[in-house]
Symmetry: C2
Subunit: 313 residues, 2 copies
């Protein structure tokens, strides 16, 4: 570690934690990844977990920290109450809540709530990812897709979030492949689905047509019984079906069929969503989700005067 | 037991078995229910399980038996190969497969296969239920709904099955309420959902509109966080969402929006489906599923000359 750290940043999810040391420009000096997410930190203590990671990286006990994600949930470190949408990204970041009773200055970025009785929804963490894509979505109107266990789709307009929705696509893949009759089709082996798979494309294409999952799920099992669909192909079919249906459902919900999409994603999942959107004729701009959340945490630190404004890395 | 039994009938599902003793008119003399479905019978032996139940009811070792359901699956007693649709109910029942090497004359009604590459599907057992509703569906064109773990919807035309589909609504309710994030909303207590629940109706109504499940699932969790939706109401919301989506999806698949439906169902589930169809303005004729499968087994016995034709009970 050559330079002196100015601040720490942490993305604290339900099952994962990432911590960075940043210099005065927001550049990364060091980084740690751990599985001490909310569920683990509730037992170990949030301050203890963060202290140990920062100590391991040689940072002092008084280094400030900016945090986003589930650490701000009611069952987290300190509740950072939801900001209601519509809300500007600047106001969201500015509402970061200080953690009382700690040696270091820790602030937690709040999540978002959509209190519409027909489409109630919440997010924690993705608002910071969004803030990190401000260069892409800072002006104009954008449909943003953030795939994952609980995929979030957001309408961003002029640097504000006007509405959003959640599609639990990753979770449905897990519970259906592990606990439904489809476990006989997919087997125990961890599924690796390729965007080049014709089965993925075929099932995705069908689901893109109308967003209907329920009428097609059992067809994966039936294809195994009637035409010998193998385990890898069954996983590809389920993935294509769920991702295609998510996209069809989301563009319908927001009345944006045919609109371009900003896809904020990391890793193998990105290629599957990009292929599904290509099949649907959607123009896609991709932003890396890992980079986006870090950029959002830097923006939050600046917004809360924990880092100087205008010092670019 | 006063009269002499002429035949035994069995509905052999994945997890349940029902056995009846019938007289020469097809009237029930005695009945047994057990949890020795396919999964148990694979270990104990199908012949042993059936023999013991019939012996318990005082029937002889040479009493013939007509069987439907998973006993005819590849992993069952003897495979009764699928009959491809379109197929007449009479031909399906007539294709019952004899079990070799048993003292008694046992025949197993085959299941159905739909070998359309876009809508591959299979059923085993429901074809016999359908045959038992012949008085309702014997002529004309009918849309039939058979709710359950894997709900089946069938187009019956002039006593033949022209097409069908599977909606795994009961299974989705189980796996999502037990294994997804919704377990925090619904809790461990077995859910009892009433068709009088306004929450059931509201979520059902929404889903009837477009059949979209994925965009709404997380809303159940969010309603708990934002407006204190309780556990019973969360279960009612999930039930309403899945049943409403099933109905919307099925009437769309078969191009029968607004058509009357023959609902073949037993128990509490029937009231939920009937209410959901009422909300959608669908005219419903209800047939009891337990009575239907027995009537179908009697029809199968007659079709295979195991019972005399035309001897009404």
């Amino acid at each position: 570690m050559s330079a002196t750290p100015t601040i720490a940043a942490a993305d604290w999810g339900t099952t994962r934690l990432r911590v960075w040391l940043l210099d005065a420009t927001g550049a990364v000096l060091d980084e740690r990844r751990s599985d001490e997410g909310l569920l683990t930190a509730q037992h170990k203590g949030f301050a203890n977990v963060l202290d140990r990671h920062l100590q391991d990286m040689g940072a002092g006990k008084d280094l400030p920290a900016i945090v986003c994600g589930m650490a701000g949930a009611r069952q987290g470190w300190v509740e950072a109450p939801y900001v209601d949408v519509p809300a500007s990204l600047s106001d969201i970041l500015g509402a970061a809540v200080p953690v009382p009773g700690t040696d270091r200055d820790v602030r937690i970025v709040p999540g978002l709530a959509q209190r519409n009785p027909r489409t109630p929804d919440v997010m924690r963490g993705e608002e910071t990812q969004l803030a990190g894509t401000a260069k892409l979505i800072g002006s104009g109107s954008h449909l943003v897709c953030m795939p994952g266990t609980h995929s979030k789709w957001v309408i961003a307009e002029g640097g504000a979030i006007s509405g959003f929705g959640t599609w639990p696509t990753g979770e449905m893949f897990s519970v259906l492949s592990e606990h439904s009759i489809l476990r006989h089709s997919i087997g125990d082996k961890p599924a690796v689905v390729s965007p080049d798979s014709q089965v993925f494309r075929d099932w995705c294409q069908e689901a893109l047509f109308d967003g209907d999952i329920a009428s097609r799920l059992f067809g994966i099992r039936a294809s195994g019984l009637l035409s010998g669909l193998g385990q890898d192909d069954a996983a590809a079919a389920l993935s294509g079906l769920l991702i295609g249906a998510e996209i069809a459902s989301a563009v319908r919900r927001f009345g944006r069929r045919g609109s371009p999409v900003v896809l904020v994603v990391s890793g193998a999942l990105g290629a599957l969503y990009a292929e599904a959107m290509r099949l649907d004729g959607i123009a896609v701009t991709v932003a890396d989700a890992d980079e986006a959340v870090l950029a959002g945490l830097v923006a939050a630190a600046r917004r809360n005067r924990m880092l100087a404004e205008g010092v670019a890395s």
